[in-house]
């Protein structure tokens, strides 16, 4: 994903997976549903609000372009 201020690192991906395992989420849970444009538990991956906004905008554009 281009343009992020702080790209997620390996350790952050591991943190994210650790949380997904801890919450016992299924693959279906992870597929984004309806209104939620951000991935579950995104606080482990996106660390600035600018990145969160950017991600929301891109997800929104991807959705409306479909």
């Amino acid at each position: 994903m281009p343009g992020l201020k702080k790209k997620p690192s390996t350790s952050e991906v591991l943190d994210w997976l650790k949380l997904i395992l801890a919450e016992d989420l299924s693959p279906e849970d992870l597929r984004r549903e309806g209104k939620a444009v951000l991935p579950r538990l995104h606080g482990a991956l996106l660390k600035t609000e600018q990145d969160v906004h950017l991600f929301e905008r891109l997800a929104f554009m991807a959705r409306s372009g479909r």
């Binding site: 702080k6 949380l19 801890a22 538990l41 606080g43 482990a44 996106l46 660390k47 609000e49």
Partner: protein, 209 residues
Amino acid sequence: MTFTSTGSYVATEDLTVAVNAAVALERPLLVKGEPGTGKTELARQVAASLGMPLIEWHVKSTTKAQQGLYEYDAVSRLRDSQLGDARVNDVKNYIRKGKLWQAFEAPERVVLLIDEVDKADIEFPNDLLQELDRMEFHVYETGETIRARHRPVVIITSNNEKELPDAFLRRCFFHYIRFPDVETMKRIVAVHFPDIREALLTTALTQFY
């Protein structure tokens, strides 16, 4: 042991998810948001909700990371040595414990609030990386190593006045408190003014938004 909204504090769903995720990961929770969105209050509510004591460390522009660990009061020691005070022989008498030390040596798990971390200079968060990661630090004057007896729940707030370093961000779970939408605002108002008339509230909020 999970955090939820309390009688005096409305936490949105994503905020409770963030708090519980940070506790599960044993990583600091970095809370950002405009002033007045309830960042500092969050720490108090988390402590109350989890039934843990709260240790607050308010950061100023002059705060150094070392002050959170301990300070060695060399001036007092020099004065005492000239007055012939017996305490001067033990350097431990001149070590002042900081907030991190207090949190580490607490007999039970505590919530540690590091408030307004962006007030200090840019090196401040970097200087705390090791201590927050490993939950231990070394006291050079006495040669002891202080380890956390119970890993504290760390909540760090930032007003966004300065950028935080990537190495610091990597170790935190991030949450941005948004300005509440109308529904959330209604719940917040209900907590603060339980007797407000519905019609008045609706009109006031319509004018506000």
